[in-house]
Symmetry: C2
Subunit: 336 residues, 2 copies
Amino acid sequence: MSLGDRVLLAHGGGGSLSGALIREVFVEAFANPALLPLGDSAVLELPGSRLAFTTDGYVVSPPFFPGGDIGTLAVAGTVNDLAVSGARPRFLSCSFILEEGFPLPDLRRVVASMAATAQEAGVSLVAGDTKVVERGSADGIFISTSGMGELRELPAGWGMPGPGDCVLINGTIGDHGFAVLAAREGLDFQTPLRSDCAPLNGLIDALFDAGLALRFLRDATRGGVAAILNELASGHEWGIALQGAALPFSPAARSLGEILGIDPLYAANEGKVVVVVDGAGAGRALQVMRSHPLGREAALIGALESGLDGLVVVETGLGARRILDMPLGEQLPRIC
Amino acid sequence: MSLGDRVLLAHGGGGSLSGALIREVFVEAFANPALLPLGDSAVLELPGSRLAFTTDGYVVSPPFFPGGDIGTLAVAGTVNDLAVSGARPRFLSCSFILEEGFPLPDLRRVVASMAATAQEAGVSLVAGDTKVVERGSADGIFISTSGMGELRELPAGWGMPGPGDCVLINGTIGDHGFAVLAAREGLDFQTPLRSDCAPLNGLIDALFDAGLALRFLRDATRGGVAAILNELASGHEWGIALQGAALPFSPAARSLGEILGIDPLYAANEGKVVVVVDGAGAGRALQVMRSHPLGREAALIGALESGLDGLVVVETGLGARRILDMPLGEQLPRIC
């Protein structure tokens, strides 16, 4: 039975057309021993007994953008959520919600990105589901990915950041948000703007393996660096002081941010991890990050400071500080 | 900050409105120790090392129908996928994709159904995510649920059904599909038609605990009993012969099926498990099922027969047999 070139309602109906879609599109791309029986659940062997479990929905518009697509995102985003929890990502599941008429070549392209990103991250896609809704009832393709990982032994002080700790990031801030926005609005720049979308578990492994006194890791997705630092500081006596001059921005994100009046600190990243580490280990952490392909532009961007009452501030030079508020909502919807 | 009465784009933006939605709607309903830290991943302790992992998307239209709603379905469906794999369901994650403007009271009602069904099934909702898309880019509410369970020791012969085995089901066939269809089309019947939507892990536990020689379990969702039996028999020398007179149908499903020309054997169930057991254990299996509240109308409906070449047939009386084909697609889209 031929699949045709567009997604049909029947591709989600549980009959033979569903079977053809699963075999020809998903199984070919994701083939692994846990997926192949195509049972109701994947059966997994996991030696440890402490697991991390996470889920995320992906609705990015447009689904294809410079530097990645919704498939890259759907794997990297969930891998990163596991990795920042201190887990080694192992297994993913994915649930597709497709709009009737979605082009099958586009679906194959998304699935190929998922397979490539999973391979890069060393994870297996072991379970999946596809639903198809009528034309007009969804916007092309939505993916929800869940992930499971083995939790490692975490360093003393993990989850307990405090004054004197340093804040680092593995590269330029806000690229994903601006790249998607530019793709959506058809903005054309001389400076190329690419999403930073990537699985960060390798970089994070290197940080743990270095024996650093890590306190906190978080990927700076929706709401950007501003949102996660505000969440981190909220309710504490201490706050976070960022050094404005130390914040790494790509030239393209910087200029697009100025044109649109959007602070890149509020724009989503999909390949950036904010690292909080004991001050004494900050230099070593920076070195470890810069030695990794995804951390070459890593920077020490600030520190936790007593007396800031849960605020996040940016030192803008000459002793001036501006408060970096918690965003109310996303300035750029459908960014991930 | 007040949530208001409709879902806004900002409720999915990762800022303070997202936080309010999470705290006031989800955490209140699902509160459990693994969810409460609200980290990037839930941390779980699982004694066994063999796990089952599954995912399913739920896009049912309308989201509320007699006998349940998309929330009941999103928990029961995933619990059932784990249970029929021989696992004891333990932890669920849920990813919501909401359309801007979706009424918050409806979201609370869905979440309350999820919490109640999770409690009935003895599982915890430990991780979640919410995305909001612009009005017109989704149809109200979609939910993807993933689930994790501990795999039990499976009986000898599990996964290897063969001639002489019997086929049982725990009650009337096709009620969910017809109930959703009737709700969608505004059909009004004198005979009440209710979805059978329910978590089956308790009933399935009872079957395993009875020490029966179970060969195969499957919940008969999309494509109905016809689809799963065809999948089971496909490629084998044996086939499945159903006794037409033994098939349990509710009066409402039977009459609606006749009016619409839809065979209830192709309609979705959300609280029905097809059980294949060694012929010698069929009587005991029927007894165990009928002792459970969700199996009071359980029936022995057929047997695996040599020489049928992978076909599923229904004996319609006087020795006549009709072939029950694999459905091409779903006759009733958006049924789950």
